[in-house]
Structures are given as structure tokens and as C-alpha cells.
Symmetry: C2
Subunit: 288 residues, 2 copies
């Protein structure tokens, strides 16, 4: 049925024309200054997802710097962002032939219209397509069951914690071995693994990798800790332009101590390349 087939083709989003692109698009107000209305579509309960915010800042810096791809980006999350108006202010720190460094801050507005800083970022950009193809990665992809044996929010009962808009925008299929928490039986292991993509079918790119490193449920859930685990700082390395198709994300926590934990994320693409690595430091609110 050609008409239905072309309708299906027309519906699948592409890099540059997708929910994610529209919701991370900024308007340049003047050189280095960008306005955006932060979407309510990438929230977990009421909190705007940190990876979505990182992608917004990442896109601003890609415009401000002479190099287009984030190589390493460190974000400090200062105050909680809300859906609504925001401004990103960027500074060029250094430009080089193959690498450039930039800084960016995202602000929102208080009731008097004053700018309140939400996130500050320091990042080094380059050109992923110019990297030599010499690959000596010794890390191996995570072992995750085939996607059809993994589970997303749509496969279970109503979400545990109420509505999370981001769930509608992601294709997230979790490894059942890291899903005990959703059934009241957390394994006690600081692990979270999932197949990951965007619900509208858009393939991954360096900016959606910035979302991917912070879009899974917290490892704290599987350790057996409920409640909020806010990110203090997150550093991501983007090592390769991801191949089309679903990603595999594997997150590990090994150092829960003193009220903080780290989450180490690896993102693997369909060509078995380790395309992104990140580590975040998060605060654990322990019930006492």
C-alpha cells in the first residue's frame, strides 16, 4: 500500500527534524547569546532531565565555537531548571586548529526577571569526522538481552512515580536484570542497562548522546534507594559519531559512600563502537 508506506516513511524523524531537534533548538539573540524555551517534554516527574539540558548547552557551544562536535563536556548543575524561558551565554576560551574550548551558562528568570544560573559548562570541541579510524578499544559492549526481551515503561503498570513526559519521547527498553526495583525487588547492585533511542525514530548524533548518558533510571533504584538523586556534576566524552540504529547504555555505580555516588555510563552504538563515556557525581538523599 504505497500511500501508507510513504506515510510511515514521512513520520520517522531524522537528525535535524525531530522532537529532540526542535526542543533543543536555540535562537541566537546576539553573538554568543541564545534564547530557548525549555521544553516540558523532557521532564522526569517535574524535573527537567539533565541530559536534555546538557544537549541544549552543547548545541549552543557548537554554534559559538569553530568546531561542531563536543569531545569532552563537564557540567555543574547549580539550581533546578524549570520548563520555560532560558538564556544561554557562551564564551570562547580558546580556538585551535583541531580543538576549541568554550564555556557556557544556562540562566532562567526569577520573578523580578533577574537571571539565575542553572548550569555552567566547560567543553572542548573538535571534528569527529576528521579523527583517524584507528580503533584499539579493549572495552566490550554490555551484555543486554535482545530488545524484545527487555522492558520499557509501556510494558508495565502505570509508572511508579506518576507521569514522566520524557518517557513518551524515548525508546527505552531496560534489561530485566536491572529492573528489580520496578517490581519492589531491587537487586542491590548499582547497575542499569537499556536499549535506548528516541521515540520518533531519529537516529543518534553527538547531541543526543549527551541526553543518552543521563536518561536512564538511577542506579540508586536498583541499589534499593528511592527518592531523588540529583546530579552535582557530569562529564561526558563523545568519542565517535554514532551509527544509525539503537544504542545500548550501561550505567554502573561502585562508590556509594558519604551521601554521594558516581554513575559511570557507557554508550555503545549498533556498530559496537564505544561512542560515549560519562561519569557523574550525584547526591544521595538517604532517609534517616
Amino acid at each position: 500500500m504505497p500511500e501508507a508506506a510513504s506515510a510511515t516513511t514521512a513520520r520517522r524523524a531524522t537528525i535535524g527534524d525531530s522532537e529532540f531537534d526542535r526542543d533543543t533548538a536555540l535562537t541566537r539573540r546576539e553573538p554568543g547569546v541564545y534564547d530557548i524555551d525549555l521544553s516540558a517534554g523532557w521532564t522526569i516527574i517535574s524535573a527537567v532531565n539533565g541530559g536534555y539540558l546538557l544537549a541544549v548547552l552543547g548545541r549552543a557551544l557548537a554554534d559559538a565555537l569553530p568546531h561542531a562536535d563536543p569531545f569532552t563536556i563537564s557540567a555543574h548543575y547549580l539550581t533546578a531548571s524549570q520548563p520555560g524561558p532560558a538564556v544561554v551565554r557562551t564564551d570562547v576560551v580558546r580556538t585551535g586548529r583541531t580543538l576549541s574550548t568554550g564555556q557556557a551558562s544556562l540562566f532562567q528568570y526569577d520573578e523580578q526577571g533577574r537571571e539565575i544560573e542553572r548550569i555552567r559548562v566547560l567543553a572542548c570541541y573538535g571534528d569527529l569526522d576528521s579523527l583517524p579510524d584507528d580503533v584499539r578499544t579493549t572495552a566490550e559492549p554490555p551484555v543486554i538481552p535482545p530488545m524484545e526481551h527487555c522492558f520499557g515503561p509501556e510494558d508495565g503498570p502505570a509508572p511508579v512515580d506518576g507521569s514522566s513526559a520524557i518517557a513518551d519521547r524515548l525508546m527505552l527498553k531496560l534489561d530485566p536484570a536491572t529492573l528489580g526495583w520496578a517490581l519492589g525487588q531491587p537487586s542491590g547492585r548499582g547497575e542499569m542497562r537499556a536499549w535506548f533511542g528516541l521515540a520518533d525514530g531519529r537516529d543518534a548524533d553527538p547531541f543526543s548522546l549527551l541526553l543518552a548518558v543521563d536518561a536512564l533510571p538511577p542506579t540508586a533504584f536498583e541499589i534499593g534507594i528511592s527518592g531523588w538523586v540529583p546530579t552535582v556534576e557530569l562529564t561526558a566524552h563523545i568519542r565517535c559519531r554514532p551509527a544509525p540504529g539503537p544504542l545500548r547504555v550501561s550505567i554502573t555505580t561502585r562508590n556509594l559512600a558519604g551521601g554521594f555516588l558516581e554513575e559511570d555510563a557507557e554508550v555503545w552504538d549498533s556498530a559496537d563502537r564505544l561512542v560515549a563515556q560519562s561519569r557523574q557525581l550525584a547526591r544521595v538523599r538517604l532517609a534517616r
Copy 2:
């Protein structure tokens, strides 16, 4: 012999009174601005060690912020530092009850006396002594032979690459399993492990941990790559005040690809606590 015993006691350095403290001490020129003469004592061949520089910036921020201990610090290395005069300029980004965030840049001077930025840092500080003692670390210390079965530069022939002043200031005993490179037989594995301390006996503290995460030989050597492996960015998490006594440092590289590699460092103290974790992105200059 009481007199000789007290002479021995007097020689051992302490936190606050040691080479490391003297060489990382800054002079406050005005609020937020600090002068320092970068020591030639922490160089590898002619390059000032990145961990020493991170410690310098860390100490400046500790003075500028209301909290004394680095919790997470991200550094972007822009241009190569030289021994000699430098200035650190800090900004307070946000202060809170338990955490504060700051930014700092280290500059040196060109021939016209203009400031050239060497390193920019973003960091979150807190009070390590106020953290709850709930420790659920699942990571385990690295397996390293006892110190007497490990080897430092003093145990081998003349240093491979000429003099490195930093070697005189460190107590570094490498695991023979990660020393193949020094004998012309690199294992091919991206690993480097060592016992680590300061040569004058000063115990570790959060600032010397910033040195420790970047003071071992590059994993690239053991992979079989010689030559310079400059750090682009390094992020360190300081999770615990280290106990007295030697540290164990274990560094791993799993993703050498496209002319870059990551080095993941773990630092363990004598009480078997995982006191620091870091990841750096470094550039590999491959001979072609």
C-alpha cells in the same frame, strides 16, 4: 639515641609543612586573585605535571570558596605551563549551605607581559569531614604486590627519557606487571598501577590526591605507544579524606580510538577506602 630520633622526626614532612605545600602555596594579591611561582620541581622532562597544576588551582579555590575540600573538579588544559610566574583568577559561581561552586583560571605571561590562559577549572567544594560515614562502596582495591616487590625510578637504570624532577619528589613504586614498557616489553594492556606517596613523607590530603591522579607514567607506554600523551581534560572526584600512609593508584585505559584515549584512575588509601576517582581525555600522537 634521643637526639638522632628527634632529628629523624623533624625531617619527616607533614601536611602544611612539606615540599608539596610550599610548591602549591599561593599569595593572595587581592580577593580572588593569587600569585604563584610554578615550581620546576614537579616536571616530567620539561613539562609541568598536570596533577601539580590541578592542586595549585584546587588550593586557590579552597581559599576563594566558603568550603575547603574539592568534591569534584574538572580541568581543561589549554596551553602548556612552564615553571615560573603565574596568576590564578577565581570566581565564585554559587555558594550553598553544604556545597559551593567555583571557577578558576591559571595564566602565565608572554614576552609582552600579557596573560595567556593555561588551564581553566570548574569545581564543586564541600566539607569532607561532615559527610556521613555510611560506606557502601562495592569497588575493590587493586591487586598490587607489596611495596617491596614493586619498583620505582631509583631501582632501574638511568631514566629512559632524561631527568624528571618530579621523580625526586614522589615515592612511586610501580607494579612490575605494568612495568614492561621500561624494559622494552610493553604488555599491550592499558594499565598502570603503583604505590604512591610524597618523597618527604608528607601524608596524603585532598590536594595531594589531585596530584596523585595524574602522576603515574601514561598507560600509553604499556600499550606500546611512546611519545607525548597530553591531557585535554581531567575530572577528579575527591570522596574521602585519605588516611595516613601510602596510597595505591590504579589507572586503566579501555578506549584508545581515533587518536584519543581515556585514563581512569582510582586512588585507594591505607584504610581500603576509594578516596578519589578521575577520568582524563588525552590525545595520542601516533607515529605515522
